[in-house]
Amino acid sequence: MPKARTEDAAELERITRTLRRDIVIATSAAASGHPSTSLSMVEVVSILFFGGVLRYDPKDPHNRERDRFILSKGHGAPGLYAVLAEAGYFPADDLTTLRRLGSPLEGHPNMCRLPGVEASTGSLGQGLSVGIGHALGASIDELDYRVYVMVGDGESEQGQIWEAAMYAGNHSLDNLTLIIDRNGYQQTDSVKNIQSLDPLDKKLEAFGWAVRDIDGHSLDEVRAAFEWAQSITGSPQAIIANTVKGKGVSLLESDPAKWHGKPVPEEDKDRALEEIGA
């Protein structure tokens, strides 16, 4: 199972700019969708798919030995689609069919319609449990694939996340890595104001996880965190990626609660793309 690995920092930065551009263009074309929650996850998925972490083959998307990436925060679909297109699962031109009738690029990921999507998500809190199923599948079949699940910090208010976290910790599922895209905001306000997760690291540690807190926009820190995760045995690993909702587009960054689930307006698009630099 191949890994797409580039050590070239400039190339990885080019990829992050491409993903950000694709996210903004696709959601603006759809005139709906969630660009800001997609923008916050860009560095993490860039390293995951192109920094030599994930083993996958777009030509053989169901290969039983593949590593799995499950996007539990399904409204980050534009970010997932951008990275899948860049990885070669489908032509990048298709990205602008986002949310259109007939397109497999639905508003939230649908695993039955788009290869590379490992779980249908969008009702929050469910992806980590599905990831545990895949992690158990590896041990039943004695395969060495790894499972990566990304959740949002707002999503972590769901009880099922903690049922799953308790199970993974108690059963020492060390082929499972959780990434919390901690962009700090949910639909109407900051996570802190609504249902603070603090102390998130201590909570996860208490549930039996190895935990690392990083700057989720630093390619170096993200890469180091995945290398760390792969080195851990005997417990699942959680990477708390501290990120900025709407990262790279000042308009979306300026008021995250206002811009949740809203594309960049047509009149602001050129400026946004200029800021992204792609």
């Binding site: 695993m111 009702s123 809190g125 545990i132 199923g133 895949h134 599948g137 039943i140 199970y167």
Partner: protein, 319 residues
């Protein structure tokens, strides 16, 4: 003539949950089968599987949401997961997980809800389900099976494992009298006519099949010839068996251990309404929860008896 709850002594035969558990353990020779439990395996009889195949048995704990999600992930790896818990906790607690992680992505997960209906008895309504068939039928693409007795529950277990796609199998707690012999044919989606008749048809499933047979016997004493159809598969329903019943008899009684809405009665009525007017009557729990009590006391109290079926048949046949 009154039959009361005569044949439903709930002491003879096997419970459908026990027959399921035995059949599941037999099916364990298929290495793809994995079994997931919400810590009730000695009640659901998945303990039989656990004892034989501990490496493919996962007690996920009292956490049905996670339980169903984990099963969906295993199905995504090509496994054949069977998830079992009390019907109330499985369907009601994990409804959205079944919807989002199993039904919508059409994952090959088998959900087996035990202790369904009101015949579980003393534990009372929090542990019972009067609404689970409606909930299971509400998922697009689901197969929903309600077996009548031990032999058909065992056959249904094997049949659902051979059939691709998400399925709900409903099992009960008490022992029920055998309607079938072991080895009798069981085809998902194909109703069994367990007694022929040409005046009225009683369509039933679960423990109501044995009661319907008692009712038919009672009706024959009044000169009424009643057909009894075991509609073990609520979804997809056997449309041709229903059309035949409506064409060949003067009316249809539907009997189920379920509330009035969304179960077998509603499905039969919807199906027959397409065909044209059919005289119908319904035997069910109505629009209410039950209470604690002995199983036979509850069945009597909530109108699930051969007498109630006979009354319904008489209503249907009344000019």
């Amino acid at each position: 003539m009154s039959f009361g709850i005569s044949r439903i002594q709930l002491e003879e035969g096997t419970s459908t949950r026990e027959a399921f558990g035995e059949a599941l353990a037999q099916a364990g020779s298929n290495l793809n089968v994995v079994v997931l439990d919400g810590d009730v395996n000695n009640s659901t009889f998945t303990k039989n599987f656990k004892d034989e195949y501990p490496d493919r048995f996962f007690n996920v704990g009292i956490a049905e949401s996670n339980l169903v999600g984990v099963a969906a992930g295993l199905a995504g790896c090509g496994k054949l997961p069977v998830v079992s818990s009390f019907s109330a906790f499985l369907l009601c607690n994990a409804y959205d997980q079944i919807r989002m992680s199993v039904a919508f992505p059409n994952q090959n997960v088998k959900l087996v809800g035990t202790h369904a209906g009101i015949s579980i008895g003393e534990d009372g309504p929090s542990q019972m389900t009067v609404e689970d068939v409606a909930l299971a039928c509400s998922f697009p693409g689901f197969t929903v099976i309600v077996p009548a007795d031990g032999p058909s529950a065992a056959a249904a277990t094997h049949a659902m494992l051979e059939r691709e796609g998400p399925t709900f199998l409903r099992c009960g707690r008490p022992k029920v009298p055998n309607v079938y012999e072991n080895g009798d044919a069981f085809l998902v989606g194909k109703a069994n006519t367990v007694r022929d008749g040409d005046d009225v048809t009683i369509v039933a499933n679960g423990i109501m099949v044995a009661m319907a047979l008692d009712a038919a016997e009672g009706l024959s004493g009044e000169g009424i010839s009643a057909r009894v159809v075991d509609m073990h598969t609520v979804k997809p329903i056997d449309t041709s068996a229903l059309e035949k019943a409506a064409n060949e008899t003067k009316g249809v009684v539907v009997a189920e251990e379920h509330m009035a809405y969304g179960g077998l009665g509603a499905t039969v009525a919807m199906t027959l309404a397409e065909r044209g007017p059919t005289r119908m009557a319904f035997v069910n729990i109505g629009d209410t929860y039950a209470t604690s009590g002995k199983p036979d006391e509850l069945l009597l109290q909530f109108g699930l008896t051969p007498d109630a079926i006979m009354d319904a048949a008489r209503r249907v046949l009344k000019d």
